[in-house]
């Protein structure tokens, strides 16, 4: 399991109900069930991954963040997890709203478009930046809604979400030392990880 998935797992209380959107190979689901006794289900867009997950005994259904969250009832889950996918959905704000409707908490990770390498590349070359994290050309990238850590915090404020916990991590999921300063995190963090809840919820 990737290190950033381990960080996500640490945010989740044992024995809770979890929905992992974009569950991929099911590593997080498996970990949450085996080590934390969670009732963890997944949604995955890639049918081969779905088949592989179900064949491993994991409850995963074919679907995607944009179209399938609206069908769940309010607070069906304790945590709804969206890993590295927010930048690729059609309507990120609506997806977040749905996550915090069907879950008491949302855990969101996304690649930070404010990272210094991206800023520098755009400034010096004048072309869309390509890095290890942002590694597809603009004309075929699935990442249609990139944002920075600051952008995301602004959206949370507008929508009335409480940030219970946040951290910036590098691509391998190692926690960055600039966890206390948002401005530094926005410059040096490659991935951001947020634990949210709805105000009053």
């Amino acid at each position: 399991m990737r290190l950033d998935q381990r960080l996500i797992a640490e945010m989740i209380q044992p024995g809770t109900r979890v929905l992992d959107i974009g569950s991929g190979d099911g590593a997080l689901l498996d970990y949450l069930f085996r080590t934390r006794g969670c009732d963890a289900q997944g949604i995955e867009i890639d049918m081969q991954e779905v088949t592989r997950s179900v064949a491993h005994g994991l409850p995963v259904m074919h679907g995607d963040a944009d179209h399938d969250l609206a069908h769940y009832p309010r607070h069906a889950f304790d945590y709804v997890v969206l890993q590295r996918t927010l930048q690729a959905v059609e309507r990120p704000r609506e997806v977040l709203r749905q996550m915090l409707r069907i879950g008491r908490h949302a855990i969101v990770s996304f690649p930070n478009f404010g990272h210094w390498q991206l800023r520098l590349k755009l400034l010096t070359t004048g072309r869309m930046p390509m890095t290890a994290v942002w590694n597809t050309p603009w004309y075929e990238t699935p990442n249609i809604h990139p944002c920075t850590i600051l952008d995301f915090l602004m959206l949370c404020r507008e929508e009335g979400y409480v940030v219970e916990e946040w951290m910036a991590v590098d691509e391998d999921g190692e926690r960055a030392p600039w966890r206390r300063s948002i401005r530094l995190a926005n410059l040096f963090g490659e991935q951001a990880l947020f634990l949210l809840r709805r105000r009053g919820g």
């Binding site: 009732d39 289900q41 049918m47 779905v50 088949t51 179900v54 064949a55 491993h56 005994g57 994991l58 409850p59 995963v60 259904m61 074919h62 679907g63 399938d68 069908h71 769940y72 009832p73 069906a76």
Partner: protein
Amino acid sequence: MDQTVPALLQHECVVFPEGLHLECGFHLAPVQIAYRTYGTLSAARDNAIVVCHALTGDQYLADTQPLTGKPGWWSRMVGPGLPIDTDRFFVICMNVLGGCMGSTGPRSPRSGAGADGTEPWGTDFPPVTIRDMVRAQKLLVDRFGIQRLFAVVGGSMGGMQVLEWAATYPDMVFAAMPIATSPFHSAQNIAFNEVSRQAIFADPDWHGGRYWERDAVPARGLAVARMMAHITYLSEEALTRKFGRRVRRDPYGDNPLSLFGEMFEVESYLRHQGSSFVHRFDANSYLTITRAMDYFDLGTEHDGDLSRPFHGTRTRFCIVSFSSDWLFPTSQARMLARALNRAAANVSFVEIESDKGHDAFLLDEPDFDRTVRGFLSGAAEHARIG
């Protein structure tokens, strides 16, 4: 050529003299259920799986079908070490109510007032529903002393029974696997069934459903019904791959230059499907069971809300569809998955890539086998059995 289905064939059966109060209001008694079991029931009676058969299936799931001499219809899926592993699980398969392989149906002797025990029900057999079939199955499950089924599994009409099991007896079903099925029979499904039935009605040998009185069997009508239905079980791709436009000489035609002197291989195949079917199936059973499928609609008692029957369910579901199945398409499976989402149920939903059409669930599809095995193993871990 003897075209009658031997009625004296001995099937393993249990008779329930108290019978069953059917949804139509009729009290059917006695009720006989023919069944087969595979594997061993554990001491805790917690490892039982009910497999529900499809429209023309039967209880001979994994051993030789006595009429055709062929292997059971799911013998590639059910057995020692197979995805439904009889070394681990105790598997029960029952002939449906209304069927013709030993369970009470239109060919059973008529019971009730004025019956002398020799005349069959025929078309007077009361209309049964998928829920009636499931309630009849529960009689036998209770008889085994099983309080909770580890799983209920079935494809097509068998999948409807799986859904009905989960909706009617939620506390008795730990895991449910509805395969290539739908939460209701669509207008298109009903339309195909109606063509099948009209083919039977149009056969002069049907004699208004009382063909036994004339020692006749509406073999042509039943064969045409089967031929038509069989097309809906396949896909254009599968038909093209198997037969293309290949032609052969009609072995029964006299003149090869006549209009039908040659026949396409697909025609020959369908005729074979039709003629072999009439040896093992009863026309009135076909009418009864297709009608039960037509009436199936999980939402009917809930203003069309398909999630209501599953509110509060703790059953683990695994819905499977096949990409080339146009009889029970993935869109209907997705509708079911979303209904279960609305009920906050634990749902897996897989569409298996296949060009074999609706019948894919009976055929060799390694991804499907892995899905069945994996879902059952995962559920067994949660149920803490075996």
